[in-house]
C-alpha cells in the first residue's frame, strides 16, 4: 500500500502558499517594522553605551578629620580610579571620577541628594591603624565599590611607608598597575576584547538571544497553529488526499521558515548599513579619541551569520516538533497546553544562554552549547562573549543538523498519525503513544 510521493513539487507548492499567507498578513508587517527599529537601536547600542560612559562622571567626597590624610586619600584614589585608556589624548580626556575633600555635613547632604556617588571616610584609630568607610548609594559589591576597596588598601600601604624612618631602604610606595587578562574571552580579528567591549558584546548577546528565542518560539508556534487551524477548519481532510504528510510537513516548515527569514533579512539589512558606517557614526558622535582609542565592538558580519545559521537550524528543529504537536489538537485552543513542554525547553535554552552571557554556567554552558535543542541559544551566546574554537561551532552545527534529521523522521510520522486524530483530548500520553507507533 505504500505510496512513495516525491517531495517536489508539492512541498514547494505548499511552501509557497504558506509563505504568501504569512507575509501578506498585517501582523507580519507590523512585527517586521517593530523588530527593524529594534535592530537599528541594537546596532547603535555600542556607540550609545560609549556616549553615556563618556558623559558619566562619578563624584566621590573624601571626609577626614586629618587634612594630610585626606590629601593623601585623594591622591591614591585618583591614581587608582582615573586611569586613561590606551591611546587617549590626555589633554582632552576627561577623568571618570571627580574626587574632592569635603566636611561630613556637606558630604552627607550631597549624598542624600544624589549629587555624589559616595563618601570615603578616612580616620586614624588610636592604634594608628587607618579606618576607611565607604558610604554609597550604589550596590555594595559593585565595580566602583570594589575599586574604592583597592584604594583603601593602597592608602594603608602608603600610610605605612610614610611612617618609615628616613634611612629606610624601602622606596616610596608606587600604586601598582592593575589589569585583567582573561583567557576565555571573545576576540576581534585575533585581539582579545577588553572588559568594556565584552560588556558591550554581552548586551548585544542578550538582544540576540532574546530575538532568537522570540523568533524560534513565535515562528514555531505559527507552524503548530497553522496545522491546528487546518485540522479545525477541516482543510486537512482535503489536503491529506492531495499531498503526503511528508510533503505537507516540509512545505509548512519551509514556507513559514522562509517568511521568518524574510523578516530576519528585513531586520538585519538596515542594521548592516549602520554597521558599515559604524566608525564614521562613532567619530561624529564621540569624537576621534573615544572612537579610535577604544574600538566599538557590536554587530559583526560573523555574528550576524552565526545568528542566521542558528536561527535557521533552531527554527527547523523546533518547527518540526511544533508541527507534530499541532497535528494532535483538534482545536487551536488546546495548542498552548500541548506545546508547553516544548516552550519550556526553549526557555531553558534561553536561560542557559543568558547565564553564559553573564559569565556563568561553567560546565553546563559548555555542554548545552553542543546539545540540541539548547545549542542554538547557548552556542550563539558563547560566540558573543567567550573564546570559541571553529571546531566547536562546527560540531554544534553538525549535532544540530543530525538532531533535525532525526526529528524530521519522527515528526513526519507523528504528523501523519495526528492529522486524522479528531475528538480526543491532546495530552502527553497520546503524543508519546503516537511517537511509539511512529517509531
Amino acid at each position: 500500500m505504500a505510496r512513495h510521493d516525491p517531495l517536489l513539487p508539492n512541498a514547494a507548492i505548499i511552501a509557497r502558499r504558506e509563505y504568501r499567507d504569512r507575509i501578506r498578513g498585517p501582523l507580519f508587517l507590523a512585527s517586521t517594522v517593530v523588530l527593524m527599529a529594534l535592530a537599528l537601536i541594537v546596532a547603535m547600542a555600542p556607540i550609545a553605551i560609549r556616549y553615556f560612559d563618556r558623559q558619566t562622571v562619578t563624584r566621590l567626597a573624601i571626609v577626614s578629620s586629618d587634612p594630610e590624610l585626606a590629601e593623601r586619600a585623594v591622591g591614591v584614589a585618583d591614581s587608582l580610579l582615573n586611569v586613561p585608556p590606551d591611546g587617549a589624548d590626555l589633554e582632552t580626556w576627561k577623568k571618570p571620577f571627580v574626587i574632592t575633600i569635603s566636611d561630613p555635613d556637606s558630604a552627607g547632604r550631597d549624598l542624600a541628594r544624589g549629587q555624589i556617588y559616595g563618601i570615603l571616610g578616612v580616620e586614624r584609630l588610636p592604634s594608628r591603624q587607618l579606618d576607611v568607610v565607604f558610604r554609597t548609594s550604589g550596590p555594595p559589591d559593585g565595580v566602583r565599590s570594589q575599586l574604592v576597596g583597592f584604594a583603601a588598601i593602597a592608602m594603608g600601604v602608603l600610610d605605612w611607608t610614610a611612617g618609615l624612618p628616613p634611612d629606610s631602604q624601602l622606596g616610596a610606595f608606587q600604586t601598582p598597575a592593575f589589569r585583567v587578562e582573561p583567557i576565555n574571552t571573545a576576540t576581534d580579528n585575533g585581539r582579545a576584547l577588553d572588559p568594556q567591549e565584552t560588556a558591550s558584546r554581552a548586551f548585544l548577546g542578550i538582544v540576540f538571544v532574546v530575538l532568537l528565542f522570540m523568533t524560534v518560539v513565535i515562528y514555531g508556534m505559527w507552524v503548530a497553529a497553522g496545522v491546528a487551524a487546518e485540522k479545525s477548519s477541516r482543510v486537512m481532510e482535503l489536503m491529506i488526499s492531495a499531498a503526503s504528510p511528508r510533503q505537507m510537513l516540509t512545505g509548512k516548515v519551509v514556507g513559514i521558515g522562509a517568511a521568518g527569514l524574510t523578516q530576519y533579512l528585513a531586520i538585519v539589512l538596515p542594521a548592516l548599513v549602520v554597521l558599515a558606517f559604524q566608525s564614521r557614526i562613532a567619530e561624529a558622535i564621540l569624537g576621534p579619541d573615544w572612537a579610535a582609542g577604544a574600538p566599538i565592538v557590536g554587530l559583526t558580519p560573523v555574528l550576524l551569520l552565526g545568528y542566521g545559521i542558528f536561527f535557521l537550524l533552531g527554527f527547523t528543529l523546533f518547527a518540526l516538533i511544533y508541527a507534530a504537536m499541532g497535528s494532535f489538537v483538534s482545536r487551536p485552543d488546546d495548542l498552548q497546553t500541548l506545546s508547553l513542554p516544548l516552550s519550556l525547553l526553549a526557555v531553558l535554552g534561553y536561560l542557559s544562554a543568558i547565564g553564559a552571557l553573564s559569565g556563568g554556567g561553567g560546565t553546563w554552558t559548555r555542554i548545552a552549547s553542543f546539545l540540541p535543542p539548547f545549542s542554538p541559544f547557548v552556542m550563539l551566546a558563547r560566540m558573543m562573549v567567550a573564546a570559541v574554537q571553529p571546531w566547536e561551532v562546527a560540531l554544534s552545527i553538525g549535532l544540530l543538523v543530525a538532531a533535525i534529521a532525526a526529528a524530521a523522521v519522527v515528526a513526519s510520522r507523528m504528523y501523519a498519525a495526528g492529522v486524522l486524530l479528531y475528538g480526543t483530548r491532546p495530552g502527553l500520553r497520546a503524543f508519546l503513544a503516537a511517537a511509539r507507533r511512529a517509531g
Partner: protein
C-alpha cells in the same frame, strides 16, 4: 476494469471498523456506498486514498494496488467541509489542482468554467469565508474534480445543498460518468442514490450486507410492494395494516407503500381495499425502494447515529499511514 475491495480489514484499538469487506465497483458508473454512520464508509475511502493503511486485504483499481497509483487517480470530497477561510475561491481551486499536477493556467481556466456551471462565477475572487455553506460545498466539489480524476470518492456530497444545487450536482455527476469517470459516493439520502446509482454496496459494521446492481438486489429481495393512493385518505387509514397479506404500511410521498407477505396476492389485496368502500386512484405492484431494501438488510434507517467507530478512533488513534512511510522530510 473495476475497483476491487478485497477482504479489507481495519481495526482501531478494540473496534473493528472493516471486517473483511469485499465488493467490486464497476468502472464508469455512479456507485452508491451505503451504510449507517460508523459502518466503515469513510475508512474504506481513506484506505482507497492511501491515507490509512488496512490491517489486511487489498484495494485495487484496474488490477493495480491503490498504493501504487498516483494521487491524481483519485478525487476526494470529504464529508467535512473545509476550505482555507482567507484564501480566494479561485486561488484555492488552482492550489489544489496544482498539488495534483495540473498546470496553473489550465487549472485557472477550468476552475472558472466550473464556477460558471455552478452559477457562482462572481465568487472566484471572494474569500471562502464569505461563501454560504452550500456554495462552499460546490467549490469543494470543483476542487475534487478539477484535476480530472479517474475515480471520484465522495462522502455525503449532497449535505447542505438546496434542491436547485442538488440538480446541478446530479447533472455534473452524470456528465462525469458519461466521460468515463467512476463516481462513488456515500449518502443517507437514499432517494438520491436510487435515482443516480446503477450499483450499490450496503455495509453494516464493516461488513458487506448486500452489493451489486440495484435492480438485481431489488429482485433478489423476493418481497412485493404495492404503491397505493386512495382518494381523500391522507394519511392512510389504519385498517390497511390489518388486511390479510400486508406486513407493513409506509408513507411514500403523497401515497402509501404496502409491503406484502411472501404468499400474498395483489389482486386479493385490491379486492379487500375496495370491499372497505375506498376509492383507489393508484394501485401498482412495484419493486421495493432502496430505502425499504436498506432497512430490511441493515435493520435501521441509514441516518441512525451509531458513533461506535468515531469514539474508537478518538481513543485508539489512526495508525500511521502508508503515505507516512516514505521517509524523513
Amino acid at each position: 476494469m473495476t475497483l476491487e475491495i478485497d477482504h479489507v480489514t481495519k481495526r482501531f484499538g478494540a473496534t473493528v471498523a472493516l471486517d473483511g469487506l469485499t465488493f467490486d465497483v464497476p468502472a464508469g458508473e455512479v456507485f452508491g456506498f451505503l451504510g449507517a454512520n460508523g459502518a466503515g464508509k469513510t475508512t474504506t475511502m481513506r484506505i482507497c486514498l492511501g491515507i490509512v493503511a488496512p490491517d489486511s486485504g487489498v484495494i485495487r483499481w484496474k488490477g493495480q494496488a491503490v498504493g501504487d497509483l498516483p494521487r491524481r487517480t483519485w478525487g476526494y470530497l470529504p464529508e467535512e467541509r473545509g476550505l482555507y477561510p482567507r484564501m480566494t475561491v479561485l486561488d484555492q481551486l488552482v492550489y489544489y489542482a496544482s498539488l495534483y499536477g495540473r498546470p496553473v493556467e489550465r487549472a485557472r481556466r477550468e476552475a472558472l468554467t466550473w464556477l460558471s456551471r455552478f452559477r457562482i462565477p462572481d465568487y472566484a475572487d471572494r474569500r471562502a469565508e464569505e461563501l454560504s455553506k452550500g456554495n462552499q460545498q460546490k467549490v469543494q466539489f470543483i476542487a475534487a474534480i478539477l484535476h480530472d480524476p479517474e475515480v471520484l470518492l465522495m462522502d455525503e456530497p449532497f449535505t447542505g445543498l438546496d434542491p436547485i444545487n442538488l440538480v446541478l450536482l446530479r447533472e455534473a455527476f452524470m456528465e462525469l460518468r458519461d466521460r468515463g469517470r467512476t463516481l462513488i459516493f456515500s449518502t443517507h439520502q437514499l432517494e438520491a442514490a436510487e435515482a443516480m446509482c446503477e450499483s450499490v454496496a450496503i455495509v453494516d459494521r464493516g461488513r458487506l450486507v448486500a452489493g451489486g446492481r440495484l435492480r438485481d438486489l431489488k429482485r433478489a429481495s423476493g418481497r412485493q410492494w404495492i404503491r397505493l393512493a386512495l382518494d381523500g385518505a391522507v394519511p392512510a387509514p389504519g385498517w390497511l395494516g390489518e388486511l390479510p397479506g400486508v406486513d407493513q404500511v409506509r408513507r411514500s410521498g403523497a401515497g402509501t407503500e404496502l409491503e406484502l407477505a411472501a404468499d400474498a396476492q395483489p389482486p386479493a389485496i385490491l379486492s379487500a381495499i375496495l370491499a372497505r368502500g375506498a376509492t383507489v386512484s393508484e394501485f401498482a405492484v412495484v419493486e421495493p425502494s432502496l430505502e425499504a431494501l436498506f432497512i430490511e438488510l441493515v435493520g435501521r434507517p441509514a441516518e441512525d447515529e451509531i458513533g461506535v467507530l468515531a469514539s474508537a478512533i478518538a481513543t485508539a488513534g489512526p495508525s500511521p499511514t502508508s503515505a507516512a512511510a516514505d521517509g524523513p522530510a
